[in-house]
């Protein structure tokens, strides 16, 4: 993009500037249109699940509903509580939206990359944690008891889900050997575009853990605790109205969108699919974009499905769940990832290993024997760990429960 502009006679620094400006606007437009589509998509999907019809009045099939909502929130009065800490109250949505939009910088839309960082995964994790600062600022700034509780819950939730989420990415990085999202996408391209990590046992467990933890990052049910509107009205957003509330809402849904994009990229081979390489060039890029969006919206559909079914966890239950259930599984997953890499990929990543053990017999590109061993081994480790931890949590829950069998018998006197 930048060099194309320099040929047009712009100075080199100017063309880089213009190119980045065009990319930034593309991302912002793509993100907010995606957000608008998500709100409509969620309300339609959840209404069909509840045997009713979602928005279908504004525009064809209600597609203009998000725009009417945007206009509505813009025209609503933007009130700030008298006792509120004005600056913090005003900056909270800005921080939250900023953090969310940052993570779009490295997300690959199909084959097209806005920016190809070689530490893209690190960048994504860093921005993921930022928006909780905005939450705390909103909670503290609006001088409202419910908002304070919401802000505190938001921070508690960040601490508990961040570690499992980050550790769930490590197996992906191990398997590809690089932190750049581009290389991660390419690594999932064999088997005719279907070699996604999610089909390997390590990837499957990693996908499940990462998706659960990212439910907490996007504050989706069952983890929408900071903004639990049946208990603490609207959580940290209680004292916000008008445009500021719209910005919160925008950042909320954009972080959901970002999370779906990242999960699709890391585990579902964002943009890879049958026929993408065959087409190649622009048409292949377009097809990869379609695949990518399909995968993301399928993930979002699962989020909506969970939202329609499952009640909300309490804050202490969330922390217990994250620390005592997700974390051990994530560690086990890293262990089994190391076995996977040891069996299948040591020659590509660590050349000095080949000196010690000699190159693995490269009879054919993919050595089916070693692949089978790797799959069975990692499957055993992961499944065993899951079963063990399930048993432990069950016994732990029943021990604290009011009535075990003996007490039940007693109770029936």
């Amino acid at each position: 993009m930048a060099d194309a502009l320099t040929q047009l006679g712009f100075a080199s620094w100017l063309s880089v500037l213009i190119a980045s400006i065009i990319k930034v606007t593309l991302i912002l437009v793509g993100g907010s249109v995606g957000m608008m589509f998500l709100t409509w998509y969620e309300r339609r999907a959840i209404s069909y699940m509840q045997d009713r019809r979602g928005p279908n009045r504004v525009g064809p099939q209600g597609l203009l509903q998000p725009i009417s909502e945007a206009i509505k929130t813009m025209t609503k009065e933007d009130a700030t509580p008298r006792e509120a800490d004005r600056i913090v109250h005003f900056l909270a949505p800005v921080v939250m939206l900023g953090a969310t939009v940052l993570s779009f910088a490295v997300i690959p839309w199909g084959r097209m990359f806005p920016v190809d960082l070689n530490a893209a995964v690190l960048f994504v994790i860093a921005t993921g944690g930022l928006h909780s600062i905005g939450m705390m600022m909103a909670g503290w700034g609006s001088n409202n008891k419910f908002a304070l509780l919401g802000g505190m819950r938001g921070v508690a939730q960040l601490i508990s889900y961040e570690i499992p989420q980050v550790m769930a990415i490590i197996p992906v990085v191990l398997m590809t050997g690089s932190m750049s999202l581009q290389k991660i996408v390419e690594a999932q391209n064999d088997f005719g575009g279907l070699g996604w990590f999610v089909f390997s046992p390590v990837g499957l467990l990693g996908f499940a853990l990462f998706f659960t933890a990212s439910l907490a990052e996007g504050e989706r049910t069952p983890f929408d605790i900071p903004e639990a509107d049946s208990e603490i009205i609207a959580g940290y957003m209680t004292e916000y109205s008008g445009m500021k509330f719209a910005v919160f809402y925008l950042s909320n849904y954009m972080s959901n969108l970002a999370v779906c994009f990242i999960t699709a990229t890391l585990y579902l081979g964002g943009g890879n699919g049958p026929g993408v390489d065959a087409l190649g060039g622009f048409a292949g890029g377009l097809l990869s974009l379609i695949y990518f969006l399909l995968k993301s919206f399928a993930l979002f559909f699962i989020m909506v499905l969970i939202r329609a079914t499952v009640p909300r966890l309490r804050v202490d239950q969330l922390m217990g769940f994250a620390w005592k259930f997700l974390l051990p599984l994530v560690l086990v997953n890293i262990l089994s990832a190391s076995f996977w890499v040891a069996l299948l990929r040591w020659d590509q990543q660590w050349p000095q290993l080949t000196e010690w053990f000699g190159a693995p017999s490269t009879a054919d590109a993919t050595n089916w024997g070693r692949l089978a061993i790797a799959v069975v081994l990692t499957l055993l480790i992961n499944a065993g760990a899951v079963a063990l931890i399930m048993r432990l949590t069950n016994r732990n829950v029943q021990k604290h429960l009011y009535t075990t069998d003996e007490e039940l018998a007693l109770g029936l006197s």
Binding site: Y48, R52, T403, D405
Partner: protein, 330 residues
């Protein structure tokens, strides 16, 4: 402790199965059911009859409407006979007595000649904003004059309009027969019989007549205007209701009556302060809601001049008025 009067097998303890091994199967079952519902609602046929528990069940209100059952009751309405144009209501005050929030205010009509009460209502105000449509008035009415309507789209911005007066309460029997056929057919012959002997007891076909209730006929239109004209005068009169001008009353009688009325109104123009609440409510409503014929009526007790009143009559009226004003030295 099991109740001794309860046989032991009558009581069963709900099983909590706390000891079950839970590994997410409950949640996945729930997700499966919601997904099935989603599929049925998206692709299946809409939920039509009562046995169906799947598919979209809501009705797009303004376009699609549910059929209201016959017994549906919203706000009360009064009936008048299509043929003769007479109202069924004989102001027997039963409904006023039974009404729990006391929203019905009836004033009995009087025979203009003799001044004796007549089995007809001069004015019937019903406060639609306080009425809770309990249906008692329709139940106790011995003459089936008041029935419950099916029209629920009554929202309005103008609050006084909710003190609905006689003209706006009246509906033809055919209207009620359309919305509640079987309920009307049960009481039809009894109601009609009572109406006939009520009409006999109403001298000179006295009864509030409204242009819109008798089919066509310009004569009526003319009669209507004095009626409208007379109504405010009647209502404004504090002492008692004055009988409205009859439907088929001869021309000159109408004119004579107007002149008498104008004279009375002028005479007691001053002493009008303590008007009865009903009277107070009525004129405001009258002028606002009056039939279009008399919309040009000036406010205050002076008889309104209808726009399709014949020229000479209007001139004569003006002359009388001018004389009166001169006499009072305004």
């Amino acid at each position: 402790m099991t109740l001794s009067h309860l046989a032991t097998e009558d009581v069963f303890v709900v099983e909590r199965n706390d000891a079950d091994f839970r590994a997410g199967q409950g949640m996945t079952k729930g997700l499966g059911i919601v997904f099935r519902k989603f599929r049925k609602a998206l692709f299946g046929k809409p939920n039509s009859d009562r046995a169906d528990t799947e598919g979209q069940f809501n009705v797009q209100y303004p376009e699609e409407r549910l059929v209201l059952p016959e017994a549906y009751r919203n706000m009360p309405i009064l009936l008048y006979d299509d043929a003769t144009g007479h109202e069924l209501c004989t102001s027997c005050f039963q409904c006023e007595r039974i009404c729990p929030p006391q929203v019905i205010h009836i004033t009995q009509a009087k025979d203009p000649a003799t001044g004796k009460p007549v089995p007809a209502a001069a004015n019937f105000v019903l406060e639609y904003d306080t009425c809770m449509s309990c249906g008692y008035c329709a139940e106790v009415c011995p003459f089936d004059a008041i029935k419950m309507d099916h029209d629920f789209e009554l929202s309005t911005g103008n609050h006084p309009e909710l003190d609905v007066n006689y003209d706006r309460l009246l509906r033809p029997i055919s209207y009620y027969e359309a919305i509640a056929p079987t309920m009307w057919s049960d009481v039809k012959e009894q109601a009609m019989k009572k109406l006939q002997n009520n009409i006999k007891r109403r001298p000179g076909a006295i009864g509030r007549d409204h242009g819109q209730k008798v089919k066509g006929g310009a004569a009526v239109a003319v009669a209507a205007t004095p009626v409208a004209g007379a109504a405010p005068a009647a209502a404004a009169k504090p002492r008692g209701p004055v009988a409205a001008i009859g439907k088929n009353m001869p021309e000159e009688k109408v004119a004579k009556l107007i002149s008498i009325r104008a004279a009375n109104a002028a005479k007691r123009g001053g002493g009008d302060a303590g008007a009865a609440p009903v009277a107070e409510a009525a004129p405001i409503v009258e002028t606002v809601v009056d039939t279009p014929a008399a919309s040009a009526a000036p406010s205050g007790p002076v008889a309104a001049i209808g726009q399709n009143m014949s020229e000479d009559k209007r001139a004569k009226l003006e002359a009388i008025r001018a004389a009166k004003r001169a006499q009072r030295g305004e």
